[in-house]
């Protein structure tokens, strides 16, 4: 149930700055995920909270206690990482009871908490098996059980599902969230899998180059990202540059390659007329049709169409010269198009995000490094 505060934490490895002044409060009982491109510092951040990495500056508090210089074993955290580290010579039961054993709790007293945990994780059928006899999923469940049996209420998960196959990962991520909520734990989970982050988190932290870019609810970050990098990193987006023609409190009109686009989302209040801007629209929010739509509709030609199962991915060339990626979910009622088809695209006003032209240039702002 603890609350964690990270205040101005910095960490460098030689010349490489892994954390460049990070501030973050993780609420009691929250399931928080941290995402970002390789090298963004997400692993260093969770290791600093765990006490595996010693920050160069700043402080970490667990329930108002400063723990910055405490070693991992005195922080009361359960830490699970990608490389599954079970004791190979112990069976599942002994692995799970290990934490209580080293605390000097007798085998008889260990029985109830260990069995409760095994029951909760659906591991009862595996108690006498050894790690090398388990599937990847069962091994990681054992590791999580071991981390929790010693009574930790703060669970730190560093890519816990990263080594598992996709299907197993999808099932386990929901079990993990359920466990955290059922036990009333606070969980911090680092992942490179966006869908994992979107589907299990109360809040998501987006990091880039040692800094936090944005923190928010999954749906907020996906539908209304405040930062252009979030729009790039979470999900997919088309980026279109233009110039603001008209702006009221509820609507922005932008000129793009001679065409006009209207948006209802007033994300950056201080944008002005004539100013250069960048718009982002997700491929699945663009509609394709045989007839032009009323608003924000351009004639276009289909360059390619790939079937990806639950959706078609099209690349289309609009008559104003822009190439856009369009994703049409296949739910049974839509038309499909072929290469060379001359059709229309339309972009609903409610889904066009407008950002100020980034000072460092668009390419740099969107880069993953």
């Amino acid at each position: 149930m603890p609350e964690i505060r990270v205040e101005g934490v910095k960490k460098s490895y030689g010349k490489v700055i892994a954390l460049n002044g990070v501030n973050l409060t993780i609420k009691d009982g929250e399931y928080l995920t941290i995402v970002g491109p390789s090298g963004c510092g997400k692993t260093t951040l969770i290791k600093s909270i765990a006490g595996v990495v010693q920050p160069d500056g700043g402080d970490i508090f667990i329930d108002d206690n400063k723990v910055t210089s405490l070693p991992i074993e005195d922080r009361g955290v359960g830490y699970v990482f990608q490389e599954i580290a079970l004791f190979p010579h112990m069976n599942v039961y002994d692995n799970v009871s290990y934490g209580l054993m080293v605390k000097g709790i007798t085998p008889l007293e260990r029985e109830v908490p260990v069995e409760e945990m095994l029951h909760m994780m659906n591991l009862e059928g595996y108690v006498s098996l050894y790690p090398n006899e388990l599937s990847g999923g069962a091994r990681q469940k054992t590791a999580i059980s071991r981390a929790l049996t010693s009574g930790s209420t703060l669970l730190l998960l560093d890519e816990p599902l990263g080594a598992l196959d996709l299907k197993v990962r999808t099932v386990l991520r929901y079990e993990l969230r359920k466990l955290v909520k059922d036990l009333g734990l606070t969980a911090v989970h680092v992942t490179h899998d966006q869908e994992e982050a979107l589907s299990v988190s109360d809040r998501i932290v987006i990091m880039k180059a040692g800094k936090i870019v944005e923190v928010g609810l999954p749906i907020q970050l996906y539908m209304r990202p405040k930062e252009i990098f979030t729009a790039k990193f979470l999900g997919e987006a088309n980026f279109i540059t233009g110039e603001i023609v008209e702006k009221t409190d509820s609507e922005i009109e932008v000129r793009v390659n001679g065409s006009i686009l209207r948006s209802n989302i007033n994300s950056e209040a201080d944008l002005k007329k004539e100013e250069a801007c960048v718009m982002a629209i997700r491929p699945e929010f663009i509609n394709l049709s045989l007839e032009p739509a009323e608003n924000n509709s351009w004639a276009c030609e289909v360059l390619s169409g790939i079937f990806v199962g639950d959706a078609m991915r099209y690349e289309v060339l609009a008559d104003n010269g822009l190439t856009l990626l369009v994703k049409t979910p296949i739910t049974g009622e839509e038309t499909s198009f072929a290469r060379g088809d001359k059709i229309y695209l339309s972009m609903p006003e409610d889904y066009i995000l407008v950002y100020r032209q980034p000072e460092e240039g668009l390419e740099k702002a969107l880069s993953l490094e």
Partner: protein, 369 residues
């Protein structure tokens, strides 16, 4: 003329059959994706074709020539392992020239070839760099260039994108396919990522415990999965246990638990036969109010709501206790369905598939490996 043919290939490691009686053909210039989970035999399959591993039974034919006795280095195939295996003490150019030089090509010719393929993978400007100075994506492209420089027409790629950051992986997918097509190569690409296989492959071959489950185009594998395992592994599917009630002109009617009746299109099963009804999650619809115009109306309580980005996933517990998940495109979700709501669930009979009830039970078929 097929480039590659496998006839009844079996490979054992001790008691385990890594490959179990595999027969299939890869056409000239085809891009084949082999899809399976860890331990399904994917890597062994590539190594058999490369000649690194000898099959215990069966034959591998290349261009109609039995190649069992041809040593790996003389086969017109190149194996690119998952780890890239670049020489750390050689720069990019030397790494790529290694193959041609080993074949006693003149140094100047080898260099010409190497520069040509480096241009193709857009690394000609980094020819002097050492592997450790390159990003993961670049190292991957060097490994690919080395494969291409060997002049082999058959490229065997073992999880070529597996070690890369997710974002990069998405971007490299289409590049990989484009490169293969432009260079007129035949490619066998092994992966556990179904979306990757669907996006890149001309055809997909699904493996499970060394056995071929299905072989066909992405469209075919997704829309006509021949086995429960394939329907589960590729895409997201609901499975319901049922008994065939009766057959009629439109197909048939099955009974779920508690006598809930559902229409299906398939009429190949006998009344009272036990079956599994499969429906894709994205073809399953949820509405707050019952809609009279829709067939197969069931009702239940929403027990979970998961935001997945472009889709929202609802899990509904039906009146009989069965669970059905439905995926709705996020922008079509304007009904505000919440956890705990009572909803109507339905699917079109033509979107359902029937499977024979598996002899070892449904759960066994759904295990990923």
């Amino acid at each position: 003329m097929p480039t590659l043919r496998l006839l009844n290939v079996t490979k054992r490691f001790g008691e385990i059959k890594a490959l179990d009686d595999l027969t299939f053909e890869v056409k000239n210039r085809e891009y084949l994706c082999v899809l399976g989970s860890t331990g399904s035999g994917k890597t062994t399959l590539l190594r058999c074709i490369a000649g690194i591993v000898k099959p215990d039974e069966g034959d591998v034919y290349m261009d109609d020539e039995k190649s069992n006795l041809i040593p790996a280095e003389e086969r017109n195939a190149v194996y690119v392992p998952q780890t890239y295996a670049l020489f750390p003490h050689m720069n990019v150019l030397e790494n790529v020239m290694f193959g041609p030089l080993a074949k006693e090509t003149k140094r100047s010719t080898a260099e010409e070839t190497a520069m040509r393929v480096l241009k193709l993978v857009r690394l000609d400007k980094r020819a002097d760099a050492f592997p450790s100075e390159l990003s993961g994506g670049m190292q991957q492209r060097v490994a690919l260039a080395r494969g291409l420089a060997s002049g082999a027409k058959l490229l065997l790629l073992d999880e070529p994108l597996g070690a890369l950051d997710v974002r990069l992986r998405l971007e490299l997918r289409s590049e990989l396919r484009k490169l293969a097509k432009e260079s007129g190569l035949t490619v066998i690409h092994v992966t556990h990522d179904q979306e990757e296989a669907m996006t890149i492959g001309d055809r997909i071959l699904v493996l499970r415990e060394g056995q071929l489950q299905q072989h066909g185009t992405p469209y075919h594998v997704y829309n006509r999965p021949e086995k429960i395992f394939v329907a589960n592994f590729v895409g997201n599917t609901n499975f319901l246990e049922a008994i065939v009630d009766h057959r009629n002109k439109e197909g048939g009617v099955v009974r779920l638990r508690d006598e809930l009746k559902v229409k299906v299109l398939d009429s190949s099963f006998e009344p009272e036969e036990a079956v599994i009804v499969a429906v894709r999650e994205e073809k399953t619809k949820v509405t707050p109010e019952p809609r009279v115009d829709q067939p197969n109306r069931l009702s239940g309580e929403v027990v979970e709501v998961h935001f997945l980005g472009s889709f929202i996933r609802y899990t509904v517990r039906l009146t009989n206790g069965d669970r059905l998940a439905a995926r709705l495109p996020v922008h079509e979700e304007e009904m505000g369905i919440k956890q705990g709501d009572w909803v109507s669930v339905n699917f079109d009979p033509s979107d359902s598939h029937l499977y024979e009830y598996p002899p070892l039970g449904l759960q066994r078929e759904l295990e990923a490996s």
